[in-house]
Amino acid sequence: MSSVPRFWRNLGSRYNLEGTRCKECGEYFYPPRNVCVNCRRTGELESFKFKGTGEIVSYTLIHTAAEGFENQSPYTLAIIKLDEGPSLTSQVVGEPEKMHIGMRVKPVFRKLGEDGERGMIYYGTKFVPADA
């Protein structure tokens, strides 16, 4: 995450889970798509804000953290299926021993990372257990 403009372009989807939905076939897309994969040129996409609730499809516990994430290890990285359909990869904040496949989750606003002490701080959505 070293490109400020690249992150800025995706603020809407990072902060507020903004994606798109095809008015023609009803399919939801996250991250947002400009063209519907089902309807192609006959599809019509509109912006859509996901509720953010969903469940863990699969997860892994990261012990050897990537650069910039050392202070967070061990942390859970999961594939989450949103209730509207699309899946995304995100950190799930919480005690690692409580994570399980099928666990219901809800969104929270957290620091995703930062470019050292002088660079930008990247904020966005992570998930927590729905009963937290």
Binding site: N16, E70, N71, F109, K111, L112, I121, Y123, K126, A132
Partner: protein, 349 residues
Amino acid sequence: MTIGIVSYGAYVPRYRIKIEEIARLWGDDAEALKNGLMVYEKSVPDVDEDAATIAVEAARYAMARSGVDPSRIGAVYTGSESHPYAVKPTSTIVAQAISATPEMTAADFEFACKAGTAAVQACMGLVGSGMIDLGMAIGADVSQGAPSDALEYTAAAGGVACLIGRKESELAAIIEDTYSFTTDTPDFWRREGMPYPEHGGRFTGEPGYFKHVTNGANGLLKKLGTKPEDYDYAVFHQPNGKFPSKAAKMLGFTKAQITPGLVVPKIGNTYSGSCLMGIAATLDQAKPGDRIFATAFGSGAGSDAFSIIVTDRIEEIRNRAPTVSELIKDPIYIDYARYARHKGKIRLA
């Protein structure tokens, strides 16, 4: 014109450290500290939480309670002494995260522990003058206390957001009036670039907290012609449990009036969130028609006093977001090592 609180939202991180654990490290007497401070544990932010994330969570709960269209918000002001950036507003992050951008103004406030109530007053002015429809005022902090300093036992994390408006049908509480008392008093400060604040020790008490809280409170009582017994509840800035209890007694308020809003024993001093947290905890249980007296204090120094009347609408909105007692009921206790990691006191590489 009637101005008031359309909605409110609080947020407290899940982690806690007990006074015993901090005292164990520094060889202090935990029992004496707990009795002296009337604080038993304090909230600790997660490794990926800061004043901005806390402000966003509080503001989102306020939006969930209000049910209003975020594009109606004309100003977002965030008060904190721990803004994550020295230059780059926390309030723009909050405004984007609650979808209030772009037709609005925003700025960050700083006045030690009363930056949140200063933001409330600024929103009252803008809303009252008709310049904006709704204003979001937030106090949020991940406050810092130097290791082994007295502040380390109470410097906590949390935040509260208040949506200020003027449509009477939308108000959950009417702010009858406000009064401030401000002087140049160097009881607590942090220089640019320094990680921890400095304070005047016992000097923070009489010339700082008590002088400003009592003058602010008495000033508002005089302005309104009210007496302590006219109020059902009272909230005073809570850097610890002892100060607000003593200030209440000095002013003639009872223990029963301050108890519902006295949240500091379980979460510590949330700085810019502190007085607003007490107001939120009181709104969580107040009935329509109840009257709340509140006085925030910020070192440096100043106080903001408010007189608030709860309306029927409180019952409608209260349960649309977690109450303060729900937010603090299920803590995860951590030891000093993990606390040091969460607070960024351990430097990696």
